[in-house]
């Protein structure tokens, strides 16, 4: 007879209308057997009582529907961000906010490295850093005898020391965009965008793609998930070649692996028939802990990089419109083929021209292959207005909005990219819900830190570091935001049959919180401690 456990909690927030709140949940074979008060155990025979969550609050396990495998592996590099963060192994890394603090941390790390070995750092965000813009002269204080590389939080920039510039062959004659200079005419050490970073990265064998591969990346991703209450996470652009797939299958099958992974097959660069065949082939190898079959389609770039495809009036500074990832005609045939094969697509669209184009393409595909429930999802979809949300709802298209952007880039959007009026309707969560669109919200970790409670906090408060409130009318209630990181997110992945709420029959996946988000002030949402998770009935709480 299988073990049946009755957990008690201070409160259980279920996301189910029949019974929104409970105090007890009964678990058997990794699934939820009952939800309610202490009486629910009675019909089910012998049960074991477990009161370890007596003072905790249980929510459905958080679903991060847009994150990347690189999340945990990045900690192989030295963290130099401004906020205090825990690494996947539980070590606290206090934020650094001055050059002196950063150099001190680098020197300590260099002392542990072999002679001449490069030092690679990450997490640095110049927007949140005091003093002069970081340059090579600062980093030369850490080392002159080896390359020092600081990857910015955005992953679009890096700052390097003089030794790294020399190694890459950069010098007075360098004449490329994205290699700025200091007032004295010498190179600054900042390298903007991939083309400028490439000479350094290739000489250091620094590949962020490779970093996401292999067992260690998967294990660290799992640990990072437990710390943030996540029990299901996407790896939203996966190559899924045979080696990677075998490793994923074996790691996620381990008895102590805490995370259900949903890799989205990256299909850019594939012919439509190849993409369909590959997606169907990997889908057939899915397990409960590794759900495959969804496809990631890229369409445009990013708003802060001025590469997103925007409708009129475009960018604030008159920058040219952004860049398509693929010819619009090819995108259409790719979308038609995947839709026609019954595959779910997660479509990266940042600008409103891109999201409008994708809605056109999906509608066209639907005339050929009518469907009631394809649940294609617009990822980021940051600029969509009422018209596009209304249309998405009619077409059965979901959105996964980038709520974290409101905090991390909100001021930049007001001041530099689109201006305050359009910034106020960015990531318009309220419009999505009011138009009847299935809504998820995300971190795009590691682009912004993994942490669904922070994402929900952004959607609830819409506040920026400078204290602006971006579009007060677009704010969500705490419960709506919690829905978007649980059941809403599960729905966008078509996994809500199994996860996303606490109700009999679903997986026993819980986020274990130290306080009650429905009674704490909405502005404190991100400060609520996460104690760990329960995943498939297995407890991952220290």
């Amino acid at each position: 007879m299988a073990d049946t456990v009755l957990y008690s909690a201070r409160r259980i927030i279920t996301m189910e209308p029949t019974q929104p709140h409970a105090t007890h949940v009964l678990v058997r074979e990794g699934r939820i057997l009952g939800v309610g008060g202490p009486e629910i155990a009675a019909p089910w025979g012998t049960v074991r009582h477990d009161d370890r969550f007596r003072d905790a609050v249980l929510l459905p396990g958080f679903v991060e529907a847009h994150s990347h495998m690189m999340t945990g592996a990045l900690w192989e590099y030295l963290y130099c961000g401004n906020v205090d963060r825990l690494d996947p192994d539980g070590t606290l890394w206090p934020g650094v906010t001055t050059v002196d603090e950063m150099i001190g941390r680098m020197q300590a790390a260099i002392a542990r490295l072999p002679a001449g070995a490069p030092l690679v750092c990450w997490g640095f965000d110049p927007l949140f850093f005091e003093g002069d813009r970081l340059n090579r002269l600062h980093l030369d204080r850490a080392a002159t005898d080896r390359p020092v590389v600081v990857i910015h939080q955005s992953f679009h920039l890096m700052t390097v020391n003089s030794a790294a510039l020399d190694m890459a062959g950069y010098g007075p004659d360098t004449n490329a965009e994205g290699v700025p200079r200091l007032p004295d005419g010498s190179l600054m050490g900042e390298l903007q965008e991939m083309a400028a970073m490439f000479p350094v990265m290739r000489r250091l064998n620094l590949s962020l793609q490779d970093l996401s591969r292999g067992e260690r990346a998967m294990v660290q991703f799992g640990k990072a998930a437990v710390q943030t209450g996540v029990t299901t996470a996407t790896d939203l652009y996966a190559e899924l070649d045979d080696t990677e797939l075998d490793t994923l299958l074996s790691v996620t099958a381990r008895a102590d692996y805490p995370l259900r992974i949903v890799p989205a097959l990256g299909v850019i660069g594939m012919e439509p028939e190849t993409a369909v065949a590959r997606a169907l082939a990997v889908r057939a190898r899915s397990t409960d802990m590794l759900r495959m079959g969804i496809c990631k389609v890229m369409t445009d770039g990013s708003i802060q990089g001025f590469t997103a495809r925007m409708n009129w009036p475009g960018y604030l500074g008159g920058q040219p419109n952004g860049i398509w990832n693929l010819e619009p005609a090819r995108l259409k045939s790719l979308i038609a083929a995947l839709h026609g094969a019954g595959l779910n697509m997660q479509l990266h669209t940042n600008g409103d021209e891109a999201s409008g184009f994708v809605l056109d393409a999906i509608e066209e595909a639907m005339w050929t292959h009518p469907t009631g429930d394809s649940r294609h999802t617009l990822q980021h979809c940051q600029m969509a207005g009422e018209d596009q949300f209304h249309r998405a709802a009619r077409l059965g298209v979901c959105v996964n909005l980038f709520a974290n952007h409101l905090w991390y880039y909100g001021d930049a959007h007001c001041d530099f990219t689109v201006g305050p009026d359009r910034a106020a309707r960015m990531n318009a969560c309220r419009s999505a819900l009011d138009n009847g669109v299935t809504l998820a919200i995300h971190s795009d970790s590691p682009v912004t830190p993994l942490g669904p409670l922070h994402v929900a906090w952004c959607a609830v408060n819409r506040i920026t570091p400078k204290g602006r409130v971006l579009g007060a009318n677009q704010r969500l209630s705490v419960l709506e935001a919690l829905h978007a990181i649980t059941l809403g997110a599960a729905r966008t992945l078509k996994l809500d049959r199994d996860i996303g709420s606490i109700t009999p029959g679903k997986c026993a996946d819980f986020a274990v919180l130290g306080d009650d988000p429905l009674t704490r002030a909405p502005e404190d949402l991100r400060d609520i401690p996460v104690l760990g998770t329960v995943q498939g009935g297995r407890v991952f709480v220290k």
């Binding site: 950069y170 083309a195 400028a196 290739r202 040219p320 860049i323 693929l326």
Partner: protein, 310 residues
Amino acid sequence: MTAIPVTLISGYLGAGKTTVVNHILSDQHGRRICVLVNDFGEIALDADLIDNRTGDTVALSNGCMCCTIGNDFYSAIDRILRMSPRPEHLVIETSGVADPFKVGQIALAEPEMDLRGVIVVVDAVNFANAMTDPFLGDTLRNQLATAGLVLITKSDIASPGALKSLRVTVATLAPEALRMVADHGRVPSELLLDPLPLRLKRSDPHAHAQDHDHDHGAEYRGWVWTGSARADSAALDRLLGADIAGLYRLKGLVQTEDGGWNAFHRAGLHAERRAVDPPHGQGRAVAVGLAGHFDPAELQSAWDRVLDHG
């Protein structure tokens, strides 16, 4: 290590980039060229030209190779830079929506690469239509603005009106670029790979009065010959000095009646011929001349008279 020369070939879907790439790969230019393409699917290479094929690379019997970008453009570039021996020239076929200005930055930033030119392919039949596509028009405008050489394809099947309006558009959007008519992609590869005026600047919109007769960028036509026939040296010298309407450049490598090899070159009024070591491949001659003046057919018959058919 010396930097590898790099040429970008840009242009929208259907403009004819692939034909140009195919021609570069199969032409008997004697250079070991590596072409980086998005997808092998469209590169219909002659089967007996293919030496061997591994995952992302096809090696050709003429020493050239064709690589696919695969998952990541930058790792593909890194792979090529690590090749030993390194190809003599790298040609990058960009996607139809790529901005050559952005793609070109990699070859400006990386010291082991040397950007030689940006070629933008437009086709005379569909270009006007493509320019009115709301999702694409600005992309094509940006591509043209970076061109050092604009290759015009399908001019043989375009209506005279379409061709005329294409010339006006190109002259307006890429006023300083050279233009070349390249029906069926047949342009001497040398002309494509030679250094071109670099136009990787966005900051200099070229102001023009409406009435200003627009022709900074001259338009050219190419001619090419490859073969093993020997040339009569006296006749060759006569050709190098002859009056050939619109000829801008003529150069080549050919075996003469005594069995020796000669390189020859003519640019404007200056011409020379000298003995050289035998090349690996066949004889070859290429020419380029001003469109409207230079007639490749006429040069071909003049060349036929130089060849010793005895």
